[in-house]
Amino acid sequence: MTPARAELIQNLKEQLRRLERQERRADGAAVSTGLAELDRLLPEGGLEPGTLLEWLSAGEGSGAATLALVLAARVQERGAVVIVDERREFFPPAAAALGIALSRTVVVQPAKPRDALWALEQALRSQAVGVAMAWTEKLNDRAFRRLQLAAEAGGSLGFLLRLAACRATPSWAAARFLVQAVPLVGQTFLSASAGKNARPATSSSSRPLGEGRDPSPGRRLRIELLHRRGGQSGGAVELELCDEAGVVHLVSRVADPASARRAARA
C-alpha cells in the first residue's frame, strides 16, 4: 500500500467518522473509565454516551459483568441504570458493592427474549437512562442495528454481555471487547490456611478473611479489543480490579511479554 493510498483511506475514515458523529447527540462528552490504557482502547477515548459496547467473556466466571458494573457505576451520574435480566441471575448486593446506586436501578425481568430486546431498546432510547446492560446471546443483525440506533437517539450507553462464541458474528457496536480472566500466578493458595480459623457458627456471616491480614481477592482481567467501529482493532490492556476502602479501582498492570505479543498479533 502506497503512502498516498494509506492517507486517502485515513481521510475517508475520518470523514465517515465525522458523518457518523453528526447523527449522534452532541450532549455529554466521553466519561473516562479511570484508566488511561482502557480509555485509549475505547472509541472517542472513553465511555461515550450514545454508543453500544460489547463485552465478550471467555467463560461464565471471567469477570465481564463485574467490569461492566464497575464501568456502569462511573456513568450512572448521567442517568438511571437499567439491567435487563432475562436469566434472573443478577445479584443486586454485588452490584451495590461495586458502586451501583440501587435506588436508581431498574431491573427488568422479561419473560421472552423478544421482550428483553424490546426492553433494552426502550431503555437505550430513553434520555433518562445513563447505562443499560443486558445479557444477550442471540442477536440478529436487524435487532443489533436497532439497539445501536436507539442508543444514538437516547444518548445512553449500552453494555451487551455476551459469550465469546459470538465473536465471529458481525457487530454494530462501537467496540467489541473480549474479557478474559488472568489467573493469579506465582502465588500459592492465598488462604489455604484460612480453614483453620473458621469462626464458630454465628447467626450471621462470619468471614475469617475479614480480619485484616488476608488479602482481598483482587483480580486481574485482560481486555482485548476485537473490533472498533471506524477501523483499527487490536490492542489489549491488562488491569486489576482491587478494592481500596470499599471502592473498586482499576489499576493497570504492566502487560507481561506473552500477552503483549499476543496483543501485537491481534
Binding site: 467473556s57 467463560g59 461464565e60 466466571g61 471471567s62 463485574t66 451520574e77 448521567r78 442517568g79 438511571a80 437499567v82 434472573r88 441471575e89 443478577f90 445479584f91 443486586p92 448486593p93 451495590a96 458493592a97 458502586g99 451501583i100 446506586a101 440501587l102 436508581r104 431498574v106 431491573v107 427488568v108 425481568q109 419473560a111 421482550d115 424490546w118 426492553a119 426502550q122 431503555a123 430513553s126 434520555q127 433518562a128 454481555l161 480472566a181 489467573p183 493469579l184 493458595f189 488462604s191 489455604a192 480453614g195 473458621a198 457458627a201 454465628t202 447467626s203 450471621s204 456471616s205 462470619s206 475469617p208 475479614g210 481477592p217 483482587g218 483480580r219 478494592d243 470499599g246 473498586v248
Partner: protein, 602 residues
C-alpha cells in the same frame, strides 16, 4: 320563595366517631342532646384537642357532662374527674363500666370529610346541598317538597334514613337558612332551649305515625316528630321571635353580652332600636338577624360530587378488529382527558374494560345467549403511571402496549375507560442543571412504558436487606406500585440530584467489593466436587461439562442463618479461582457435606 332544609347532627364529632368505629357504637356515650334512638347504656366519651398549646376537652357526651366535664376544660382536669379506659369494648356491660371514660383526639378534618360525604348522600333530596360548619347540612329544597309528598314527608324521610345509618339528627325546613338553622337547633322539643316553656298552643307536636297535620296550606305550622319541624312559607319571622338569641348563630361573646342585658329572645331584640344594635353588639348581630328574617340574602357553597371520569363506547355489532378497538380506546381516552383538563388533573391509573360479547354464532346471524341477552365477560387491564399524565400520546402508547398483551377470546361489545385522576405536577424549570432535570423527566415515561408491556412485576427496584443468606440479601419491589385497593402510596419519588453513593441504600456490610458474585443462580446448583479432606476446601469441580481445577480459593465464609424460615441454613462458602482464572462461588452444606455452585463472578 326559597326553602331550606337544615339537618343538624348534634355533637357531630362524637357521632362521627361512632359511625367510623362501629365497635364503639353501643359503647361511646350518649349525646348531650337526648334523642329517641340514642344508645342507653354506654361509656362516657371525651374528645380532646390541642388549643394554644394546651390539651382541652373539645366535646363530651351526656354522661361525661353529668360528671362535671365540660367542653373547654383542660384535659388533665377531665381525667381527674373521670378515669380513662383504654378499650371500652372490654368494659361494656360490666358494672364498673360507667366509672371510666373513653378518651380520643378530636379530628376536625375527618369530621368535615364525613360531613361532606353525607352532603353527597343528601343529594337524593335536592341537587343543592351545602355543608354548614361545624355540624349541619343545608339542603336547598325549593320546589322539592311535592316530589316527596310534601316537605314534612321529605324531612321525615331524611331523618328516617339518617337514623337507619345510626345518626342522631334534627331537621327543620324554613324560608331562610338562618330560620331553618334556628328551628332545627332551638325549635320545638329542643333540649337546648334555655327557656324550657315554649309557648303552648302555637305548635302542634305529632309523632311520625300520627295523621298528617291538617290544612297545611292554611298557614298552620306543623311539627311532625319531636326532631323535625316545618315552618310554613312566610311564617318564619313569627316563629323566630320566640326563639332564644342563641339561635342566631352568634359568637359566644355577643351572646354573653346579650345575656348581660337580659335579652333572651329574638322578639326582645327586635324591640330595640335597630340603629343602636351594631354599636352595642357589633355588626355581626344585625347581619345574622337580617339573614334569619330573610331581609339579607345568604348564599351557600354547594358540595358537588365528582362524576366518575369515565367514558364508554358500545359497538352496534361486536367487533374483533384490534385496530378498531384501539381507535375506540383513543376516542374514549380523549373524552376522559377532556373531563380532566379543566380541573388540572391527569391520569394516574387507567382502567379499561373490554366487555366481550357472548359467542353464539348460528350461520351468519348472531343470537343472544339463551340465559341472558346482555351477558358479557369483561376483560380488564389497568394502566398504571408513576406520575399523573395528561399527555394523550403517552397514555395512548401505554394503552396500546397493554392491549398487545390482552387475549381476546371473543369479540368486543363494549369498551369502557375509567381514569383515577391526580393533580398534575407542574415543575418549575431550574436555572442550573437544566439539561439533567429535563432528562430525568423522561424516567417515569420509561418505567410506565416498560410496565405496560412487561407487566408491573417485571420492572423492579432492588433494595438491600440486612440478611446474611445471599438469597434474602435483597428484595425487589415493583417500580410502579399499583395498589390493589388504594391507600398505599407509590414508592418515594426518585430524586436524582443526590449523591449516587449515598442513595444506594445501605451498602452491604462487607467492606470488600469483590466478595459477592454479580450473577447468582436462582437455585444453588449441586455440583460434583473433589476435595481432599472431608470438610476441606474444593480441589476440582465439574461445571457445565467441564472439569475445573481450583487454583486458588478464599474461604470458608460461614453463613448460618434463617432458622425462623424453616430448616437451618448452614453453609461454608468458598470463592474459588480456576486454573483459567474464572471465579465461582461454591458452598458446602455443613450437615450433608454436599457441594453447590451458587454464583459466578462473571
Amino acid at each position: 320563595m326559597k326553602r331550606v332544609l337544615c339537618i343538624w347532627f348534634p355533637e357531630w364529632p362524637i357521632q362521627r366517631l361512632r359511625a367510623a368505629r362501629p365497635e364503639l357504637k353501643k359503647v361511646v356515650g350518649t349525646l348531650r342532646v337526648p334523642s329517641s334512638n340514642d344508645g342507653t347504656r354506654s361509656v362516657p366519651t371525651i374528645l380532646h384537642a390541642l388549643v394554644r398549646g394546651k390539651l382541652v376537652v373539645r366535646a363530651c357526651c351526656a354522661s361525661a357532662a353529668q360528671r362535671g366535664v365540660t367542653p373547654g376544660m383542660p384535659l388533665a382536669e377531665a381525667k381527674a374527674l373521670v378515669d380513662p379506659i383504654v378499650d371500652p369494648t372490654l368494659r361494656v356491660g360490666q358494672p364498673h363500666a360507667e366509672r371510666g371514660a373513653y378518651y380520643a383526639a378530636h379530628e376536625p378534618i375527618a369530621d368535615h370529610e364525613a360531613l361532606q360525604k353525607l352532603a353527597l348522600w343528601a343529594q337524593r333530596f335536592s341537587p343543592l346541598v351545602a355543608v354548614h360548619e361545624p355540624d349541619c347540612l343545608l339542603v336547598d329544597v325549593t320546589g322539592c317538597g311535592p316530589l316527596f309528598g310534601g316537605e314534612w314527608k321529605l324531612a321525615e324521610k331524611a331523618l328516617r334514613e339518617l337514623r337507619r345509618q345510626g345518626y342522631v339528627v334534627r331537621a327543620a325546613v324554613a324560608d331562610t337558612i338562618g330560620a331553618a338553622w334556628a328551628v332545627a337547633h332551638y325549635g320545638a322539643g329542643s333540649p337546648l332551649t334555655p327557656d324550657p316553656s315554649p309557648p303552648q298552643g302555637r305548635r302542634e307536636t305529632l309523632s311520625s305515625s300520627s295523621p298528617r297535620p291538617q290544612g297545611e296550606g292554611s298557614g298552620v305550622r306543623g311539627t311532625l316528630s319531636p326532631d323535625a319541624a316545618v315552618v310554613l312559607p312566610g311564617q318564619h319571622s313569627d316563629d323566630l321571635k320566640l326563639l332564644p338569641v342563641e339561635s342566631l348563630r352568634l359568637d359566644d361573646d355577643v351572646i354573653q353580652l346579650l345575656r348581660a342585658f337580659d335579652i333572651r329572645r329574638i322578639d326582645q331584640l327586635l324591640e330595640l332600636p335597630r340603629a343602636a344594635l351594631p354599636s352595642r353588639f357589633g355588626p355581626e348581630l344585625l347581619r345574622r338577624l337580617d339573614q334569619a328574617l330573610g331581609d339579607v340574602a345568604e348564599s351557600l357553597t354547594f358540595e358537588r360530587a365528582h362524576e366518575p371520569d369515565e367514558a364508554t363506547w358500545e359497538f352496534e355489532v361486536p367487533c374483533g378488529d384490534r385496530r378498531l378497538i384501539e381507535a375506540v380506546l383513543e376516542k374514549l381516552l380523549e373524552q376522559v382527558l377532556e373531563k380532566l383538563r379543566p380541573r388540572q388533573m391527569g391520569v394516574q391509573r387507567l382502567l379499561c374494560w373490554l366487555h366481550l360479547a357472548d359467542q353464539k354464532v348460528v350461520g351468519t346471524l348472531r343470537v343472544p345467549s339463551p340465559n341472558d341477552g346482555t351477558r358479557s365477560v369483561p376483560t380488564t387491564f389497568l394502566v398504571g403511571l408513576l406520575h399523573a399524565s395528561a399527555s394523550m400520546r403517552h397514555l395512548l402508547e401505554l394503552v396500546r402496549l397493554h392491549l398487545e398483551r390482552v387475549q381476546l377470546p371473543a369479540e368486543v361489545a363494549r369498551v369502557t375507560v375509567r381514569a383515577s385522576a391526580a393533580p398534575l405536577e407542574f415543575r418549575q424549570g431550574q436555572m442550573f442543571d437544566e439539561e439533567n432535570a429535563e432528562r430525568w423527566r423522561e424516567f417515569p415515561v420509561l418505567v410506565e412504558r416498560l410496565c405496560s408491556r412487561l407487566g408491573e412485576n417485571a420492572v423492579l427496584r432492588p433494595s438491600l436487606r440486612a440478611d446474611a443468606q445471599p438469597e434474602f440479601a435483597w428484595r425487589y419491589e415493583p417500580w410502579l406500585y399499583v395498589p390493589a385497593s388504594g391507600g398505599r402510596k407509590p414508592p418515594d419519588d426518585v430524586t436524582f440530584s443526590d449523591n449516587a453513593k449515598s442513595s444506594g441504600g445501605s451498602r452491604p456490610p462487607l467492606a470488600e467489593c469483590l466478595w459477592r458474585p454479580p450473577c447468582l443462580k436462582t437455585q444453588p446448583v449441586a455440583v460434583p466436587v473433589m476435595s481432599v479432606v472431608p470438610g476441606g476446601p474444593p480441589l476440582r469441580f465439574e461445571w457445565q461439562g467441564h472439569s475445573h481445577v481450583v487454583a486458588h480459593y478464599w474461604g470458608p465464609e460461614r453463613i448460618e442463618t434463617g432458622w425462623w424460615r424453616g430448616p437451618d441454613v448452614r453453609r461454608d462458602y468458598y470463592l474459588v479461582e480456576t486454573a483459567t482464572g474464572e471465579r465461582f462461588w461454591l458452598f458446602r452444606t455443613r450437615k450433608e457435606e454436599t457441594w453447590f455452585l451458587h454464583g459466578a463472578f462473571g
